[in-house]
Structure formats: structure tokens, C-alpha cells
């Protein structure tokens, strides 16, 4: 049965289907190689987790509405129109078994951008309102309260004050005329305050003129997880507005992958962005500070236990910040830093990104995926692992606890701050 919500989904697909989407859908040869790249398919063996299968609603909407071949298939009864049940079925697949990590695109012999296309599939789901309840709830919280974790303005202030006291790190709030606006995630604020404090310390040591904003205080974008265009825009708008009001030159995205992806690559294409404001990820900015000599690091501060680096899908594979964290780690732990394989743009996703970690029903999925990560960790006998994404870090911390692993999980900023000279 096709209802109003399915119609909204189809309308979204039609709206999003330009030549960019269509040419890639046409290019697929049904070879199935993308399945071998997908950590969810690899870990769980469900053929429906094959990335190309996740595009099925988009492909069907496109072919049935825009192409003669698709209409022919309908007429011959080879294919059915999209129905509510289809949306619900695929909603579980695209939200609970996909981190939009885009590894499949690097494996696809045709180079199809499966990640962004799955994002479009999610957009239809969001328009139809067929989003997993947990994810929808968090999004709603971000819309009304301002943070997916439900951090209210007061809580935020209290927390910032507490961190300032506890770690003795100055955190300027709403400082007009600052050069950099640093936007943190609620995850850092609530679960990894050490990381937040570390970033503050590093920036202070470098003499950076920076601030945080009490209005644009959340960098995480649950609208982007959901792929709801309006909400994505709204959440970014809050930050951009704050940046304009404070008159900053750059927005520094703290350790969050999806947020970086949204601000750096998606925002200019979907909304008005303030002119002359750079978007930088904290890891590339710390690297920049170190490279320009504004901070000095103690060489070999973490030599000893084997430490490895986890590449995040949105920051490394889709963000290109590949060599900066490595250069830093080679300074911090020249002897004991070891690479996992595969790494860099071919790395294996943590399994918690793309909103998966916020969905309770997907827990089994992400633990199964993490077992592959454990194998990787054990291959290099890592005692510690470092990363530049709070979402990954949350998944690591949670899963390491779940599996009782003797592995320490660090944020890169935290390591850098401890090695500051």
C-alpha cells in the first residue's frame, strides 16, 4: 500500500535524483563486490546488508518514475511499486546496518559513491518519518533542547564551569572578536570531558584567540544522521549564526566525524554559509599549530605500550585528514606507534557511526562489527588506540567494555595535551 508517507519518500527521491545520482545508479553492474567491503555484511552475513541493496528504494523510485525500462518492468510485473512496508523494511537496513562510511565506494569497480547515495535513501526515509525511534527521539531533543543528549543551556554552562575548574583549563564563552569558534559535541561534554579540557589547554598554550558559543554549542548533527534536510540545515544554522554574531574567522569542529562532513562538504551545497569563515577539524588544526611551532610536543611521550590509530570514515576516508594525525603520533610515540591494516582511506569502520550507536536495536549489529575491529587490534597487539572522532570513541569505549578488552581508548587531543611542553 502506498500512503502519503511513501509518497513523500518517493518525492524526496525524485527531487534528489539528478544526473549525479542517476548516472551512478545506471552504472551498477550488480557484481556484488560492495558487499565484501561492508563490515555489516561481513560480520552478520545478511545479504540484505549489501550496500547496493540499501539503494533499492532510491533505484526503484528513479527507474519506475523516470525511465522507460522501469515502467516496462512495472507493466510486466517484474517489480512492484514502493509501499509502506518497503520503507519500514529498508529503514531498518539503512539506519541500523549502515554507518554511511563509504568504504564500499572505494571497493566498487565502477566507483559508485554508495555512501552519499545511501544518505539519499535515508533522506526519503526521514521525509516519510520512517526513522528508528531512538534516532528520532535524539533528533527531536536536538531540535527542542539543543542537544541530542538533552543537555540544556544551564547544564551546558554548569558543565563548562566544572571542566574549567576540574582541569584548570580556561574556556572563553561567547567572546566577541575571537578568531576561532570551537564547537564541541555533547558526547565530549558529558562523556569525555578530558578531551574537551585537552583541546582547551592546547589552544590556550598556543595562544589562540578562541571561544565557545552558548547558542551554537552543539556540533553533532542528528538531522544529518537522519538525512532530514531541513533539520540538518537548522542545526548547522545555529552554529553559523553564532559564528557570524561573534565575527570569527574559522569554525573548529571538535572530534566528530559526521559533523565535519556536514559542515565542511554538505553545508555550502544546502544553505547560506557565512563568507570568509573556514571550517577546520580540530585534529588538522592541532597539527597546524604544531607545524607552525605554536605548540611544542615532547617526543616519545607515549613510547612503551603499542598504540595504534583508528581511521574514522568521515574524517579520514571522506575528510582527507589522513597524514596529520599520523605525523603527530609519530612524534608522540615514534617507536610504539603501529598501523592496523587496512588503514587510511581503506580502513575498517568502527561500526557505531552514522547514528547507529544511538539506536538501541542496532547494538547487536555494532558489537558484531566491532569483533572485526578487535581482530585488527589484536593483529598489531595494540594496548591503546587513538582516534579523532567522539562517535568512534564512544563505540570503542562501549565495545571494549562489552568485550572486556585490555585496550585503552584515547582521543588524539587528549594525548597531545599530555605531551605539551
Amino acid at each position: 500500500m502506498k500512503s502519503q508517507k511513501t509518497q513523500s519518500a518517493i518525492n524526496t527521491y525524485l527531487k534528489e535524483t539528478g544526473g549525479w545520482v542517476a548516472s551512478q545508479l545506471e552504472a551498477c553492474t550488480r557484481c556484488g563486490i560492495c558487499a565484501e567491503a561492508c563490515h555489516f555484511y561481513q560480520a552478520l552475513g545478511n545479504p540484505e546488508y549489501a550496500p547496493i541493496w540499501k539503494l533499492e528504494p532510491l533505484r526503484r523510485a528513479y527507474e519506475q518514475r523516470f525511465t522507460v525500462a522501469g515502467k516496462l518492468k512495472l507493466a510486466l510485473g517484474l517489480e512492484k511499486r514502493l509501499a509502506d512496508s518497503d520503507l519500514e523494511h529498508w529503514s531498518k537496513i539503512v539506519y541500523e546496518a549502515c554507518t554511511v562510511c563509504n568504504k564500499c565506494a572505494h571497493v566498487c569497480p565502477m566507483g559508485i559513491q554508495l555512501g552519499p547515495l545511501i544518505h539519499e535513501v535515508r533522506a526519503g526515509m526521514a521525509a516519510a518519518g520512517v526513522v528508528p525511534a531512538d534516532l528520532a527521539e535524539a533528533t527531536e531533543k536536538q531540535k527542542t533542547i539543543g542537544s541530542p543528549l538533552g543537555v540544556t543551556d544551564e547544564m551546558w554552562r554548569e558543565r563548562i564551569d566544572w571542566i574549567t575548574d576540574e582541569w584548570e583549563a580556561q574556556i572563553p564563552v561567547d567572546k566577541a572578536g575571537a578568531e576561532s569558534l570551537v564547537v564541541f559535541t555533547s558526547i565530549e561534554l558529558m562523556k569525555f570531558p578530558d578531551n574537551l579540557a585537552a583541546i582547551a589547554k592546547i589552544l590556550n598554550r598556543a595562544g589562540e584567540n578562541w571561544t565557545v558559543s552558548s547558542t551554537g554549542r552543539e556540533v553533532v548533527n542528528f538531522g544529518y544522521f537522519e538525512a532530514d534536510e531541513e533539520l540538518t540545515r537548522l542545526f548547522m544554522y545555529r552554529v553559523f549564526k553564532a559564528a557570524e554574531e561573534l565575527g570569527v574567522k574559522r569554525i573548529i569542529i571538535s572530534e566528530c566525524g559526521h559533523a565535519y562532513d556536514a559542515f565542511r562538504w554538505a553545508a555550502p551545497n544546502m544553505m547560506k554559509v557565512p563568507k570568509g569563515v573556514d571550517i577546520a577539524h580540530i585534529s588538522e588544526y592541532i597539527h597546524h599549530l604544531w607545524k607552525t611551532g605554536r605548540i611544542k610536543l615532547k617526543e616519545g611521550a607515549f613510547d612503551g605500550e603499542t598504540i595504534t590509530f583508528h581511521d574514522s570514515c568521515k574524517i579520514q576516508r571522506r575528510g582527507g585528514i589522513i597524514k596529520q594525525p599520523r605525523e603527530l603520533l609519530r612524534v608522540l610515540a615514534p617507536k610504539s606507534f603501529k598501523e592496523m591494516t587496512p588503514n587510511k582511506e581503506q580502513s575498517l569502520c568502527c561500526g557505531g557511526g552514522g547514528g547507529v550507536i544511538s539506536i538501541k536495536e542496532a547494538d547487536a549489529n555494532r558489537y558484531a562489527v566491532f569483533e572485526m575491529k578487535i581482530e585488527q587490534l589484536q593483529e598489531v597487539q595494540a594496548k591503546a588506540v587513538c582516534m579523532v572522532c567522539s562517535n568512534c570513541r564512544l563505540q570503542f569505549v562501549d565495545s571494549v567494555g562489552h568485550f572486556n578488552l585490555p585496550v585503552k581508548v584515547h582521543g588524539l587531543a587528549e594525548l597531545v595535551s599530555r605531551a605539551l611542553l
Binding site: 539528478g18 551512478q24 563486490i33 540484505e48 559508485i112 582527507g320
Partner: protein
């Protein structure tokens, strides 16, 4: 109706109609996709798009297909990589360096080139046919491929396989009278040409879209594609 007439028919009007459908159909499809509109990407580049595209093509056409085992995913699905690669290689060699095919290109474009020795071509066409059979078995057994393969995909396989097997039998002078198998080869080729604008075999065209997009996306983000 005798086979000489059928041969003349399939070399003449049938192939002609097939080529008409092929050319018109593909340009139709291309234009339909192109005119769906292309949004400009306003995000600032981190790296060079062009460089990404070049590296992507070099890797995709000349490096990775010949050393598929360097990919991690190879281990999960060796058959698709090896048989798929060998199929495309042999298809390329036979179509481009088969003497009979060179004559076709020559009649269409006015110039020809030297072919490969027959035993080499025979070897590769056999490799191509075996790869096709392996790919079929793979498609019949692999859970993901089983699910992805719908009716049109079987047609894809069939219309590619028929010209290959009839061409091989013809070139080796096996079993059939030459004009019979020659006619069958041409009929199957016509079928293939007619089917291409409707099916996914047209990926040889859209490959250049998706491959360029991937290269540009990676290059723009300063990532190795």
C-alpha cells in the same frame, strides 16, 4: 529460406537494425541521464579533483585489475574478481585484436590494425567463456548475488554469453557448417546490441560517469581514490 540467405540477412538488415537501436538507444539513455540536472559542488576543494580522477582511472584500468589480491576484499570474493577480470580482459583482446572483429571496425571507421595470432585469441576466448560460466555459477550460489539478480540480469548474462560461445565455435570451425554458426553468431550479436540500451551492459558507458565522480570526490577531499 536457406542459411546463405539467413547469413546475408543477419549480416545485412538485422545487424543494421540492431546498430540503429544501439546507437539511438544509447544516446537516448545518455541524454535522459544528463538532462536530469547536475548540481554544482560549492564546497571548497582540499586537493586536486583532476589528480584524483587521473589516479582513479590509472588504478582502476591498469593497476588493480592485474593485481586484485592487494585488496582486502579480494579474499572474500576471489571468484568475482578473477573471473570478472579475466572476462573483461579476454573480451577486450578478442574484440579489439580478433582479425574478424578488426574487419568490422575497419568497415565502420575506415582503418584497421594488426590482430593477435589465432592460438592466443583462441586461448583468451576460451578463458572468457569459462569465466562467464564461473560467474554464472557464482551468481547462482552467492547469497548477495542471488538476491540482486533479477530477470533482466539473467538476460544480460545470456546475451553476452551467446555471441561468445557462437563466436568461439565459429572461429574454431567446430560442429556446425560455417554459414550456420556465422549466422547464429551475428543474430546473437544483434540481440546483444538491441539489448544493451535496455540493460545494465551499458555500464561501459556509465562507468565513465561513476569513475570520474569517485575520482573527483576523492581528489577533492585529498584522499587516494
Amino acid at each position: 529460406m536457406n542459411w546463405t540467405n539467413i547469413l546475408n540477412f543477419s549480416r545485412g538488415p538485422l545487424l543494421h537494425v540492431a546498430m540503429i537501436i544501439f546507437v539511438a538507444g544509447l544516446s537516448y539513455r545518455l541524454v535522459r541521464v544528463l538532462l536530469l540536472g547536475w548540481a554544482r559542488d560549492r564546497a571548497k576543494n582540499k586537493g586536486s579533483k583532476l589528480w584524483g580522477v587521473i589516479v582513479n582511472y590509472l588504478k582502476g584500468l591498469f593497476v588493480l585489475p592485474f593485481i586484485p589480491w592487494v585488496r582486502r576484499t579480494f579474499r572474500h570474493n576471489e571468484l568475482t574478481f578473477i573471473a570478472g577480470g579475466l572476462f573483461h580482459l579476454s573480451l577486450f583482446l578478442v574484440l579489439v585484436f580478433g582479425t574478424a572483429h578488426i574487419l568490422v571496425w575497419k568497415s565502420l571507421w575506415g582503418f584497421g590494425w594488426k590482430g593477435l595470432p589465432t592460438p592466443i585469441l583462441a586461448f583468451f576466448s576460451a578463458v572468457g567463456i569459462i569465466s562467464m560460466i564461473v560467474l554464472l555459477i557464482n551468481r547462482l550460489t552467492h547469497p548477495v548475488l542471488k538476491m540482486l539478480t533479477k530477470f533482466p540480469v539473467w538476460i544480460n548474462w545470456l546475451v553476452v554469453f551467446l555471441p561468445m560461445i557462437t563466436g568461439f565455435i565459429m572461429a574454431r570451425h567446430l560442429w556446425f557448417r560455417y554459414e550456420v554458426i556465422f549466422s547464429l553468431h551475428l543474430i546473437s550479436v544483434s540481440l546483444l546490441l538491441i539489448w544493451i540500451p535496455f540493460g545494465r551492459i551499458s555500464h561501459f558507458l556509465f562507468y565513465f560517469f561513476s569513475k570520474t565522480i569517485h575520482g573527483a570526490q576523492a581528489g577533492k577531499r585529498a584522499v587516494t581514490p
